[in-house]
């Protein structure tokens, strides 16, 4: 169980939506049009479950586990996508496909 830090969850009325093409890392978090906060948690994926040559971490939406491990989260063309062992996955509104 990884820690949930303050930046991983909304702290109040959202004032800023992350620009397109921003990626975490190096950004700390991504905020989408719905005000959801996306961040990488502190739980390491096994290296066999991570993209080759990278650490991967649990993907959090508003501090809640999405069940995915990824090395990057990106906001591109209004969609949230993550880079996983299986390649890029896009958030459908319910899960990553």
């Amino acid at each position: 169980m990884s820690r949930i830090l303050s930046y991983m969850v909304p702290q109040g009325p959202q004032q800023h939506i992350t620009d397109s093409y921003v990626s975490t890392p190096p950004a700390l978090l991504i905020v989408d049009e719905r005000g959801a906060h996306w961040a990488l948690g502190e739980s390491f994926a096994r290296m066999s479950d991570a993209p080759n040559g990278e650490f991967a971490f649990n993907v959090l939406r508003n501090g809640i586990e999405t069940g995915e491990f990824a090395s990057r989260i990106e906001r591109r063309n209004g969609k949230i996508r993550i880079f996983t062992r299986q390649g890029w996955k896009v958030w459908s509104g319910r899960s990553f496909l």
């Binding site: 930046y7 004032q15 992350t18 921003v22 950004a27 502190e42």
Partner: protein, 162 residues
């Protein structure tokens, strides 16, 4: 593996260059510290501003800090060999320096970020920074120029004892 975190939240910085977090390995023989993650964010406002950041090492004289005890990232872990301290001495950690100390700093990474997005540094497995026990220098997360907004900063450094 025992992993720990040193950091703070809701911090008000001094209007100057500031060492946000400083961890000095213990005297040898002891465990080495492998730096796994560093992050910085602020929640004071939604004003876009660029901010420089450095990962650096510093030799004595070390910064004057607010004591910060490393938090365990795994509940079953023993307490870290690093303990909270205000002087940056070997085997101690602290945050939010009030004075930087006269010791020379050596930058490892220089970067800049937009404060709206925050900053997260995660190395690849081959890029982790290892601070050996008995090292003459400590590891710092450092803002080399004063932040435009001084309130409500959060930051941290995660490390593993190896």
């Amino acid at each position: 593996m025992n992993e720990y975190s040193v950091g703070g939240g809701g911090i008000t910085l001094a209007n100057q260059a500031v060492t946000l977090a400083f961890i000095n390995p213990a005297a040898a023989p002891n465990v080495n510290l492998e730096i796994l993650r560093c992050w910085i964010g602020q929640s004071a406002n939604a004003t876009s501003a660029q901010q420089r950041v450095q990962l650096e090492t510093q030799v004595t004289a070390f910064p004057t800090l607010t004591s910060a005890t490393p938090a365990k990232l795994k509940r079953a872990s023993a307490a870290s060999v690093i303990t909270g301290g205000t002087a940056g001495a070997a085997g101690t950690s602290g945050i939010n320096a009030s004075a930087e100390g006269a010791g020379g700093k050596t930058a490892i990474f220089d970067d800049a970020f937009n404060v709206l997005n925050g900053w997260l540094w995660v190395p690849t497995p081959g890029e982790t920074i290892v601070m050996p026990a008995g090292s003459a220098s400590g590891f710092g997360l450092y803002l080399p120029v004063a932040a435009a907004t001084l309130t409500n900063w959060s930051f941290g450094v995660n490390y593993r004892e190896v």
